[in-house]
């Protein structure tokens, strides 16, 4: 959350000679991030980001205290000037009773005042507007001004419009209707904190927004000034469910200090007196069932050093903490620290205290040292990431483009029975409901999106997700690709996979008819299923392989085989065989016929003729045609017998 404040306003609570630029820089390094300084005439506006654990800094008082501590540690003189608060004179002209529910509200403060509505003085208007709050009238302006200075949201009712002797705080029921002061009507989800009057009408949605039926108007004569410190979780729920993100709600949901509520009341009364002719006409109600508890935390000098890396003298640490409002007791080798009430919810363990010391000491004063240890886990050079990179590189240099598609897919893109799908309970849109079980549909979507390109080669390596009973889904890496081009060829994709896996040390691939039917092939490494090549149409072919299976078989092991000293003898055999004969089987059969056959490849295929390139080589001698002739005879005989194939004349 961000807060904008005027430099001159900040200086009402801190005296220093530091320039706005210095203040911004030092605060950013040691406290809150000043994201921007903007010049406004002779003044400056700081735009500050406050983290959710420091709602106390959503105020001038809080920021002034921090500024003082931070500047002091940086050697720039600064003095914190807290607002002077005094007990107002009360009266008993009117009576109002607040009935609280301690489950809902930690503290309620209320007072009735006589006022006159008018415009706020120029200075107040300007200060509010510089902090992005619209000035409405002096009554509303006081509530906002108090919120900014003290840090606790406050509210003001038109006392006469409340028309009640008692204000009862209770939980809302589901479906109850309210109209907020901006005239929008909501049905409450139930469990919200509301206040009702004697007639049972809801007159306030506590800590979130005032209601139309009780808000001050131009005719308001009496107000009920009301400060409520509520259960932050309920406030967040209400605010998010109704989508009312008022500044009050945003601050109230962060667990702010009930102590501040009291400061806010006194500061507010004084302001009403000053700019709204205010006069207290009731006693002050202060119901405070859930008191803040702060417990002392002990932190040793040694622990401070072990977390920060450099030693900080305890007396120095004590000074820093005291500047921040902590109570500190110093022993020889440790500090016992009690946090102020406005830090109670944020301070639990020694590390919390060390953070305060370290940041005020200045993170930039801590040296940069690379940790002098190595991981206990030592990755093999050829780990899964190595192989993934190798595959990606090969694909890149063979002309493929890598894509990243969303793992969440629509019902349309999901393959398989939906009942088995890993489904998202709260999807962002219908396009992203299921965790995918296959990659190809997403890739085809990419092809479709780029339909103007006549040639596309894409791939992706990403997880798929398979549901498992009472367990996390099985997440497995899949390597998939799609090639779309005119005159596409199955053999090109097959060759790609063969060559790629060959580079990974895998040579025992088997291609079989596509198991689930359709045109294409199922691929195995030995007996293990690796994946499929699928021909979708004349132009489009895809493949999808289990990367985890590839990983089980990859090897970077190099085996040296001595080279033959003797030259090889090469022979091309043009064989006529029925077209249905499997080329792979023919080649296997040829290879089997002699140990002297080093290599068999397919040179050419035309109609019924297949030309095989056969390489003979011996480690013992120079082969002559006398050596090769009997082998060739054997080949021709076997091929004739088994496949009815013959040598083409």
């Amino acid at each position: 959350m961000n807060i904008k404040i005027l430099d001159s306003w900040l200086r009402e609570f801190v005296t220093t000679k530091a320039t706005p630029k210095q203040i911004a820089e030092k605060l950013s390094l040691a406290s809150v991030s000043v994201e921007r300084i903007e010049q406004r005439g002779t003044d400056f506006v700081y735009d500050i980001e406050v983290t959710t654990n420091r709602p106390d800094l959503m105020s001038l008082v809080g920021l002034a205290r921090e500024t003082t501590a931070v500047l002091t540690e940086n050697g720039i003189h600064a003095t914190f000037i807290p607002p002077k608060l005094s007990q107002p004179k009360t009266a008993n002209t009117v009576e109002i009773t607040i009935k609280n529910d301690p489950k809902l509200v930690n503290r309620v403060l209320a007072v009735v005042m006589e006022v006159s509505v008018k415009d706020s003085p120029k200075e107040i208007k300007e200060r509010l507007e510089s902090t992005d709050i619209r000035s409405l009238n002096n009554l509303i302006d006081v509530t906002n001004y108090v919120m900014r200075v003290i840090g606790h949201p406050t509210h003001v009712f038109d006392y006469d419009r409340l028309d009640t002797k008692t204000l009862t705080i209770r939980e809302s029921k589901k479906g109850e209707e309210i109209t907020t002061l901006d005239k929008k009507t909501y049905k409450l989800p139930g469990g919200d904190i509301v206040a009702v009057n004697d007639k049972g009408h809801i007159v306030d949605l506590l800590a979130v927004m005032g209601l139309e039926n009780s808000v001050v108007t131009n005719d308001t004569k009496h107000i009920l000034f009301f400060i409520d410190n509520c259960d932050p979780n309920r406030i967040r729920k209400t605010s998010m469910n109704l989508a009312i993100r008022s500044e009050a709600a945003v601050i109230n949901e962060k667990a702010i200090d009930p102590q501040l509520a009291h400061d806010g009341l006194l500061y507010g009364i004084e302001l009403f007196e000053k700019i709204a002719d205010g006069k207290v006409i009731s006693h002050i109600t202060d119901i405070y069932p859930n008191k803040v508890k702060t417990k002392p935390i002990t932190v040793s000098e040694e622990k401070i050093k072990s977390v920060i890396g450099v030693p900080i003298p305890l007396h120095k640490a004590k000074d820093m903490l005291e500047d921040l409002g902590f109570t500190v007791e110093k022993q020889t080798d440790k500090l016992t620290v009690t946090p102020p009430s406005f830090r109670a919810s944020d301070m639990e363990i020694p590390e919390d205290i060390i953070e305060e010391i370290a940041r005020i000491y200045g993170y930039h004063n801590i040296p940069n040292v690379i940790p002098p240890i190595t991981s206990g886990v030592i990755n093999h050079t050829h780990n899964e990431f190595f192989w993934e990179d190798r595959v990606k590189d090969a694909m890149k240099y063979w002309g493929y483009n890598e894509v990243y598609t969303y793992p969440m897919v629509s019902e349309n893109l999901y393959e398989g029975p939906l009942a088995d799908a890993v489904a998202i309970q709260n999807p962002l849109s219908e396009d992203m409901v299921y965790m995918r079980r296959t990659l190809v549909p997403s890739l085809l979507q990419v092809i479709h999106k780029n339909k103007n390109a006549d040639k596309i080669k894409i791939f992706e390596i990403a997880n798929i997700y398979e549901k498992r009973h009472n367990n996390l889904p099985d997440e497995r890496l899949i390597f998939a690709g799609v090639i779309k081009k005119p005159k596409n060829s199955f053999y090109e994709i097959k060759g790609l996979i063969e060559q790629l896996l060959n580079d990974l040390g895998i040579n025992n691939l088997e291609f079989k008819q596509l198991e689930r039917g359709g045109d294409g092939a199922s691929i195995f490494i030995g007996k293990e299923y690796l994946g499929d090549i699928e021909i979708l149409d004349r132009e489009t072919i895809n493949f999808e392989l289990e990367f985890s299976v590839i990983l089980q078989h990859v090897t970077a092991k190099k085996i040296y085989k001595p080279m033959s000293k003797y030259p090889s003898l090469i022979e091309d055999l043009a064989m006529l065989a029925p077209a249905s004969t499997s080329t792979g089987e023919l080649m296997d059969e040829i290879k089997k016929q002699s140990d002297l056959i080093r290599e068999v490849s397919l040179l050419d295929k035309y109609e019924e003729t297949r030309t095989f390139h056969v390489v003979y080589q011996s480690y013992q001698k120079n082969l002559t045609s006398e050596d090769v002739t009997p082998i060739r005879e054997k080949i021709l005989n076997v091929l004739k017998e088994k496949f009815n194939a013959r040598l083409k004349e």
């Binding site: 911004a24 450099v310 370290a358 894509v403 598609t405 999807p427 999106k449 889904p473």
Partner: protein, 343 residues
């Protein structure tokens, strides 16, 4: 005649030796052996010499011709192909025939660079589930039950019965869900680099519901803020360049104490302050000292060991580095080839 032949041979040979190109050699061939070449001219005088000397002159003429041809051939071999050279006609401005070249996705490129940097200083890359128990994603990381990150408008939940111990199943909203898993390996010291897909229920120009983070976790004895700063500084200088600086400032996260926000100096204005940055700084992401509760949940004695962690967006550092001002982050995952091929 014999003398003339020898002179011719010597002339030819000396010219051949000096020749520097196939074209010159071709000219020499024509000059000496061509139809109207010197040797032909000389042989025209053959009828004019004594008849008994003619066989010897003929033999010598053949020998000379042979020597010149052999020498020419040898020299041609030295200077390159000669005969075809005349036919070579290249236009050096014509586009070359390039082998096909694809492109790795920008995120892959960034992940590689990041990995390389951290591996140089002893980190080991790991991978953990993307679909994860609440325990690893939130509870073990010290997130209270009512923390806003657990709201179903922030985090994706899987439609599955919660585990009695590990709670509901979520899509990991950050790579920090690998912290306690890494600690459970029981191998110390830890120097982990976890890079993975993350998911948050947000989609606008600066948020994609799926994005990538890289997470560092270091746990050992006496690991302090000093070491976090050292690691950070090493990364920033390696990845962004020597002229960029990093700083840490106070922040708040559930799973670290103290917590930091890490800024790097703006690459556009170099820290002076401009429209793109915040007073000269750009936010890179969160970091902090591992919260003792998280160490405890990972089975590590927080009295003996300390640690630090950081988790930053891959897309974020990528954009901060390249200065590629992509006006919609989701463009990275729209897979328009015209976009992908630019990188």
């Amino acid at each position: 005649m014999q003398e003339d032949l020898l002179k011719l041979k010597n002339n030819a040979l000396s010219l051949i030796i000096e020749a520097g190109s196939g074209r010159e050699l071709e000219e020499i061939r024509l000059e000496f052996l061509g139809k109207n070449g010197e040797l032909t001219q000389l042989l025209k005088n053959l009828p004019n010499i004594a008849i008994e000397d003619r066989p010897e002159a003929g033999r010598l003429a053949n020998e000379v011709k042979q020597i010149i041809e052999d020498t020419l051939k040898q020299k041609e071999g030295e200077v390159g192909k000669s005969k075809s050279e005349k036919a070579i006609n290249i236009d050096v401005t014509e586009p070359g025939m390039r082998p096909s070249l694809g492109h790795l996705h920008l995120v892959t490129q960034a992940v590689r660079e990041i990995t390389e940097i951290f591996e140089r200083i002893g980190f080991s890359r790991v991978r953990y589930p993307e679909v994860e128990w609440d325990w690893y994603a939130f509870t073990s990381l010290n997130f209270p039950d009512n923390h806003p990150a657990r709201d179903d408008w922030e985090t994706f939940f899987i439609d599955q019965k919660p585990d009695p111990k590990k709670g509901p199943v979520v899509l990991t909203p950050h790579t920090s869900s690998g912290q306690v898993r890494e600690m459970e390996k029981k191998i110390l010291p830890i120097k982990m680099l976890n890079i993975a897909k993350c998911y948050r229920r947000q989609s606008d120009v600066s948020h994609s519901p799926m994005f990538h983070q890289f997470e560092g976790l270091v746990v050992g004895e006496n690991i302090s803020i000093m070491h976090l700063k050292g690691t950070l500084d090493y990364f920033v200088k390696s990845y962004f360049g020597k002229d960029r600086v990093a700083r840490i400032r106070p922040y708040h996260f559930q799973f670290t104490e103290p917590s930091f926000e890490v800024d790097i100096s703006c690459g556009v204005c170099l820290g002076k302050g401009c429209k793109l940055c915040k007073e000269g700084w750009l936010e890179m992401g969160g970091a902090g000292m591992v919260h003792p509760n998280v160490l405890k949940h990972g089975g590590i004695d927080s009295n003996k060991y300390t640690g630090f962690a950081f988790g930053w967006g891959v897309e974020r550092v990528l954009m901060m580095k390249e200065g590629i001002e992509i006006d919609d982050l989701r463009l990275l995952y729209s897979n328009d080839l015209d976009f992908l091929k630019q990188f």
